[in-house]
């Protein structure tokens, strides 16, 4: 027991200096800790100040990094320092929206725009019209078919030019076979001097108002009769180049000139640059107050037929829109075009009655026009009509048609259209439309159209 007490006493004696030393150490540590806390407090104040300063600055000019305006945060002003480019530590630490990087790295950087358009048409007509192939879509009467499935690629090539490529697939015959073809491919030189621009490649010609417009964008189910009779089912579509000139005048005038192969078999057909198809167009635009607008133009296309005989087509166009101020769509639209053809062709015959066939050159002047009106009282619904009157380039007779229609857009990218078309042809034209034992002198058609757009689709001018 005594020995144990002695050990305890000795231990206490041995520990007492260590305890004293430890006491001294704790006091030193506390002082150091106090200093450290003071230092941290200073740092915190400094960081807080910096944070306040940074929050008061306008966002840094690097998209995706600058913060959204915090609720109630004082706005930046001119007295505050100008924004510094680059990323600070605070920028990184600051909370961001989850998809902040999208703006910097995603969103198709360096890619062109792409769009797909689907355009389906259905038509119902008389059996004899189907036999004769005399409907608005010859050979496709009483069918529902894909008229135009279009893949468009477009964008800037470099700082000086833009490019467009369009492929089209569609059904052209009853067999159900789908034809795929290159519809357009052209580049536009944008920075030529004196307000000029040039377009080179394969394109829909800017002849009149409707020719340039693709099927799905037309305000009717089918192309106007006069355009089909004078340029064929698909309109004037050529390979070559066009140049436009917009002079610096107080009013808008655009002048266009073009040189093309002349491949269009209905109107021309020479298909060589030795005797090219020359096109021209002048158009102007009048804004009558804020609500009314009128566009007027005149076009010409002059070339040779496959028989190397001259063929010239003149065109006049007009388009009027009434769009009350603040409306998202026009209330009234009126469109009209007239075409006049001057064409020579060979006629074989036996004028002397001697049995000797002679070829005689004759000239035929033909013309035609259409006029259409549309009323759109609501954003999603429009109704209108089109009246067609047209002679034929070579054959005799004429045809007239009236087509009331109604269009419905569930959204900007989806449209349905229902139309009734009545066509009447004069007796002289029967020969051209009584094939296969059918007859298409009088045609009644119910037309239905469904169109959709996937992806990008550029805005259309007036």
């Amino acid at each position: 027991m005594r020995a144990l007490t002695l050990v305890l006493v000795l231990s206490l004696v041995a520990l007492s200096p260590a305890a004293a030393a430890a006491q001294a150490t704790t006091t030193d540590d506390a002082a150091a800790l106090r200093k450290e806390i003071e230092q941290l407090q200073k740092q915190l104040e400094s960081v807080t100040d910096r944070l306040k300063r940074l929050e008061a600055q306008p966002p840094a000019p690097s998209p995706g990094i600058a913060p959204p305006p915090s609720a109630g945060a004082p706005p930046a002003t001119a007295q505050q320092p100008a924004p510094q480019p680059g990323i600070s530590v605070m920028d990184i630490a600051r909370p961001r929206q989850p998809f902040g990087l999208y703006q910097q790295r995603g969103a198709g950087q360096l890619l062109f725009d792409m769009g797909v358009v689907g355009d389906f048409v259905g038509n119902l007509t008389q059996k004899n019209v189907e036999k004769a192939g005399g409907g608005s879509f010859p050979g496709l009467e009483n069918r529902f078919f894909p008229r135009e499935i279009e893949l468009s690629l477009f964008g800037q090539i470099d700082p000086y030019a833009s490019g467009v490529v369009r492929f089209e697939a569609g059904q052209e015959e009853r067999t159900g076979e789908i034809t795929v073809k290159l519809a357009e491919a052209y580049l536009t030189l944008l920075t030529l001097p004196f307000g000029t621009q040039a377009r080179l490649g394969q394109m829909r010609n800017r002849f009149g108002w409707s020719n340039e417009i693709h099927e799905h964008d037309l305000p009717w189910v089918d192309r106007p009769n006069v355009m089909r009779n004078f340029f064929g089912q698909e309109g004037l579509q050529e390979q070559g180049m066009e140049a436009t000139f917009v002079p610096d005048l107080p009013f808008y005038v655009e002048a266009l000139g073009g040189i093309f192969n002349g491949d269009n078999e209905t109107a021309f057909g020479a298909g060589t640059l030795r005797v090219p198809l020359i096109t021209g167009r002048v158009r102007t635009f009048l804004e009558l107050g804020t609500d009314h607008a009128l566009e007027l133009g005149m076009s010409v296309a002059s070339g040779q037929t496959s028989d190397h005989l001259p063929s010239t087509i003149l065109g006049w166009e007009g388009r009027y829109k009434y769009r009350p101020d603040g409306w998202l769509h026009p209330l009234i639209t009126v469109t009209g075009e007239a075409l006049y053809s001057i064409r020579k062709f060979n006629v074989e015959g036996d004028p002397t009655g001697t049995g000797v066939t002679e070829t005689e050159q004759r000239q035929k002047n033909s013309w035609g026009f259409y006029v259409g009106g549309e009323v759109q009282p609501w954003r999603r619904v429009a109704g209108g009509f089109r009246y067609d009157w047209s002679q034929f380039l070579q054959g005799p007779g004429l045809e007239q048609a009236i087509q009331p229609y109604i269009s419905f857009w569930p959204s900007e990218f989806l449209r349905f259209r229902l139309a009734y078309k009545h066509t009447a042809r004069t007796t002289q034209t029967i020969d051209a439309f009584n094939l296969n034992g059918g007859s298409a002198r009088t045609v009644d058609e119910i037309l239905f159209q469904a169109s959709f757009i996937l992806g990008a689709h550029p805005a259309h001018p007036f």
């Binding site: 915090s70 001119a78 307000g195 959204s411």
Partner: protein
């Protein structure tokens, strides 16, 4: 020979008439896509610029119709100031039709004021059109947020100075004067809306998120089913319920929206009000310039939320 020389001379004279005169070249000819930017460009450019806008405040900028009259304005422009972020993508079609190489995308005369703006409502998931007219880059309706005016005007100064470097000092001075004026107004605006801070509002179309966020107001719903898609009856019933539950007093409407519909919903929601906001300079009477348009929105909102 003499006859040929005369013809050539006559043609050259005609050509010279078509070229811009030297007097007109003294001022920068600036065109903006929307009127807010016209007002800001005038504030920054002062007497050194002539500014015109392609659209009016009463128009929906998403669906502006590209008219040849736009191309005429752009034909002579030294600079085109655009909002960017997909709001005014139609400007490309107008620029192409104007045959003016000075303002095509990438040219020095093309000024995009969305540079450096942190966009809100940037989609965080895959975007497709089942979501309506959603903007993949984020909400582009930021121009009437006064807190972003410093960045927007800085972009305008930078852009104009690219074309007229000698005038940078003057542009900077004009900008500072404008921003000082804006700051004075801002103090007053913040005080005006302070009592209703945190108030909940419903919008017809999501045009006001920057403005609302700036002044501490909360957007809790939208009348449109999805952006740009007209409201369905079921959606309206749901919104009315939500407005009642959250005691929403105000529906913010754009000038071209169906005001009667908004008023009906507001009435059904129990004494709420539908108010037409200045979505842009010139959108409503009295909103004739940038500050006046914001003033209109602040006072209208403060009164409606009382």
């Amino acid at each position: 020979m003499r006859r040929t020389a005369l013809v050539v001379l006559a043609m050259l004279s005609m050509l010279s008439l078509l070229l811009p005169s030297g007097q007109a070249a003294q001022k920068l000819r600036v065109v903006t896509t929307i009127p807010d930017l016209k007002s800001l460009a005038e504030a920054v450019g002062g007497d050194l610029v002539e500014v015109d806008s392609l659209t009016r405040g009463t128009q929906n900028f998403h669906e502006a119709e590209v008219r040849p009259s736009m191309m005429l304005k752009l034909r002579r422009a030294d600079a085109l100031i655009e909002n960017g972020a997909d709001l005014d993508a139609w400007a490309d079609v107008a620029v192409t039709g104007s045959n003016n190489g000075n303002i095509i995308r990438g040219a020095p005369g093309r000024i995009d004021i969305s540079r450096g703006i942190q966009l809100l409502e940037v989609p965080s998931t895959r975007v497709d059109r089942s979501m309506g007219d959603v903007h993949p880059m984020g909400n582009p309706h930021f121009s009437l947020d006064p807190g972003l005016a410093p960045q927007i005007t800085q972009n305008i100064v930078d852009g104009l100075s690219r074309l007229a470097p000698d005038n940078r000092a003057a542009f900077e001075k004009n900008r500072e004067a404008f921003l000082q004026k804006l700051e004075r107004e801002m103090d007053r605006w913040v005080k005006l809306l302070e009592p209703v801070r945190g108030a909940k509002v419903v919008v017809f179309h999501p045009d006001f998120i920057y403005f609302l966020t700036r002044f501490g107001l909360v957007q809790v719903g939208m009348l449109e089913d999805r952006p740009g898609i007209p409201p369905s009856p079921q959606h309206l019933v749901q919104i009315i319920r939500q407005m009642k539950a959250e005691q929403v007093k105000v529906i913010l409407v754009e000038p071209w929206n169906d005001l009667k519909l908004a008023e009906r919903v507001a009435a059904e929601a129990g004494g709420a009000r539908a108010i037409v906001m200045a979505t842009s300079v010139g959108a409503v009477k009295g909103a004739d310039n940038y500050i006046a348009a914001i003033e209109y929105n602040i006072t209208t909102l403060a009164q409606a939320l009382k």
